[in-house]
């Protein structure tokens, strides 16, 4: 019974010392963006990534965000942001109207991830998707030892809390892409902020995965 109270926290998302700090996964996503691109960020939150991309890569950026709080924060950062649900809103964008469509750390919260990913590839020349990896050995060990769904820094909600998150692993995502004929242009794996080399062990070692799709 003792073990059931133990939470295995992944060391992700800890704020860094010197501002302006950018999460390592966001920096890795930014590294894939060319100067001057037209970028749509789905579930853009407070707009930190879009603002960073505009400041460092002179992109044209648009955001979609569900919460009013997020929309207000984006407006304060001088961003173009649209309040709405990704499932209803994506259909409005013309085919191939963006260079890149980003879905950063949002996928576990989607009702219909397959639909959103296909829409991203319709609207954008390419899609960049990042997510926390439940295949990481901490999660596996936690599940094995406690028999309970692991709770991590990135996805801190217990099963009964809103918003409900649906975990996925690197292997799940790769299988999805193969079955749906989606080409993986590149993949990046991070353990905390440390970049891992790609290889058979990544599903065990990565806390975050970033995929570039076409």
């Amino acid at each position: 019974m003792l073990l059931t109270t133990v939470h295995f926290h992944l060391p992700m998302g800890t704020p860094k010392a010197n501002p302006p700090t950018m999460r390592a996964d966001l920096l890795a996503v930014a590294g894939l963006i060319q100067p001057g691109e037209k970028v749509l960020d789905l579930g853009c939150g407070d707009g930190m990534l879009l603002r960073y991309l505009i400041d460092t890569r002179q992109i044209t950026g648009r955001g979609v965000e569900l919460s009013e709080e997020g929309v207000l924060a984006c407006m304060q950062k001088g961003l173009s942001v649209r309040q709405g649900d990704l499932h209803e809103g994506l259909g409005d964008y013309p085919n191939q109207s963006f260079d890149t469509v980003i879905l950063s750390y949002t996928i576990p919260y989607l009702n219909d991830p397959a639909f959103v990913i296909k829409e991203m590839l319709r609207v954008g020349q390419r899609a960049i998707i990042s997510f926390p990896n439940w295949g990481h050995w901490h999660c596996r060990l936690s599940f094995l030892l406690t028999g309970r769904i692991p709770i991590t820094h990135d996805l801190p909600q217990a099963w009964d809390e809103a918003p409900r998150a649906r975990p996925l692993t690197v292997q799940d995502f790769i299988s999805f892409c193969i079955h749906n004929g989606i080409r993986i242009l590149s993949d990046i794996y991070l353990n905390d902020s440390r970049r891992l080399s790609t290889g058979p062990g990544v599903n065990l070692l990565a806390t975050t995965a970033i995929f570039e799709l076409k």
């Binding site: 648009r62 009013e68 929309v71 207000l72 407006m75 304060q76 001088g78 961003l79 173009s80 942001v81 649209r82 309040q83 709405g84 809103g89 409005d92 964008y93 013309p94 109207s97």
Partner: protein, 385 residues
């Protein structure tokens, strides 16, 4: 009076045009000469690039902010949002608020004198549309020598004029802020308009619109306004503001005097309205709103916006607005997105119903000031250039 900043004193101005060459209306009728009442706040910069046109709702007027004299009890209708340091910052932008044709607040309308016979037009005034109102405002903007408006903004019927501006004169507008509005008047809105008009027709004093020399149809107009006021509130805001509270009495009166506070409020609002509004104008302006459908003649809404996709948009709706519900704004946002426009949208959490566009000042100030700042920055517009 607000104490945060010195009292903003303004005067109403008038611009008369179409004296020689009448303006042709959507109906095909010709109207002229036309006078438009307007007010301005702040100062125009050297390149005349910092002008923002504000458009008002059904019962509004050109007096959008500040005071006409030190003895005025009330400031202009959107004083919370327009002034130094406010959402529309008069220290940085040149604000113009234009009245509408068909109205009764200083612009040519059914209560104006028809030059042909020296009598008020009454129902001889031609039926006007939102597009006609905007056509007249374009003369005013030409007169002020403003090539491109930095922004066009307005709520409710003001929002309809904003949308008409971007469709009629897309080259004259850099950004647009349609607030709590719609791209087409719904059957429910037409129904409410018609009930308001029927209240006026049913008043014997209305006399087919010919009442300017005798008693005015105040009972009909007040009733129309009372119906309107119900639609501007929400059930929640009525609960919060009035509940089932009684009006100046402890117990039910078991008579037909005013029992409830909500009755007192509606009666007061109705009767106050007759002091400043003309019944015929109410007929003309509601009719103009009913005719409003941007997709008309364009196929669908996106087709109407095809020439307007270079404009930057901020669309705002309010969660409890059941008169112009959020889905009307979402439809607008969808159509603008489909043509590739840069559109920001916020559905503001509010309990105030349609009136929220006058009351949710903090959230609107945040949205509007940041949006205008972005537009100004992107276009290199400052008070000094």
């Amino acid at each position: 009076m607000h104490k945060a900043s010195p009292v903003l004193l303004v005067e109403r101005k008038y611009f008369t045009f179409a004296s020689d060459e009448p303006m042709i209306l959507d109906s095909g009728e010709r109207l002229g000469p036309i006078t438009l009442a307007y007010e301005t706040y702040g100062s125009l910069n050297k390149t005349r690039s910092n002008a923002i046109l504000i458009l008002h709702a059904l019962s509004g007027d050109a007096h959008v902010a500040g005071y006409h004299s030190l003895t005025d009890k009330q400031p202009g209708w959107w004083d919370d949002c327009i002034g130094p340091g406010k959402a529309f910052d008069t220290d940085r932008y040149f604000i113009i608020c234009s009245n509408i044709i068909g109205g009764c607040q200083g612009s040519t309308g059914p209560s104006s004198i028809n030059a042909k016979n020296g009598k008020p037009y009454g129902l001889n005034f031609p039926v006007v549309t939102i597009a006609d109102m905007v056509r007249a405002q374009r003369y005013l903007i030409d007169h002020l020598s403003i090539e491109k408006l930095m922004a066009v903004a307005g709520g409710s019927m003001g929002g309809m004029q904003v949308l008409q501006w971007i469709v009629s004169y897309p080259g004259r507008v850099r950004s647009a802020l349609p607030i709590a509005t719609t791209a087409r008047h719904s059957p429910m809105l037409i129904a409410f308009s018609e009930v308001g008009r029927q209240a006026i027709y049913a008043d014997p004093n209305w006399n087919g619109g010919d009442y300017y020399t005798g008693p005015h149809p105040n009972a009909g107009l007040a009733l129309a306004r009372m119906i309107g006021h119900i639609t501007y509130l929400s059930e929640t805001s009525m609960h919060q503001k009035f509940g089932r509270r009684l009006q100046e009495r402890e117990h039910f009166g078991y008579d037909f005097d005013t029992d409830f506070a909500i009755e007192g409020y509606l009666r007061y609002k109705g009767s106050r309205f007759t002091e400043r509004f003309d019944a015929n104008s109410y007929l003309y302006v509601t009719k103009a709103m009913d005719y409003f459908d941007l997709s008309n003649g364009h196929g669908d809404l996106s087709a109407a916006f095809a020439e307007s996709n270079h404009i930057t948009y901020l669309v705002i709706s309010f969660t409890t607005d059941w008169l112009y519900p959020p889905y009307h704004s979402k439809e607008l946002v969808s159509a603008l997105t489909a043509v590739g426009a840069d559109v920001s949208y916020c559905n503001v959490q509010s309990s105030w119903g349609h009136d929220a566009f006058l009351l949710e000042v903090d959230t609107m100030t945040h949205l509007i000031s940041n949006f205008l700042e972005r537009v100004a920055q992107y276009q290199g517009i400052s008070p000094d250039n």
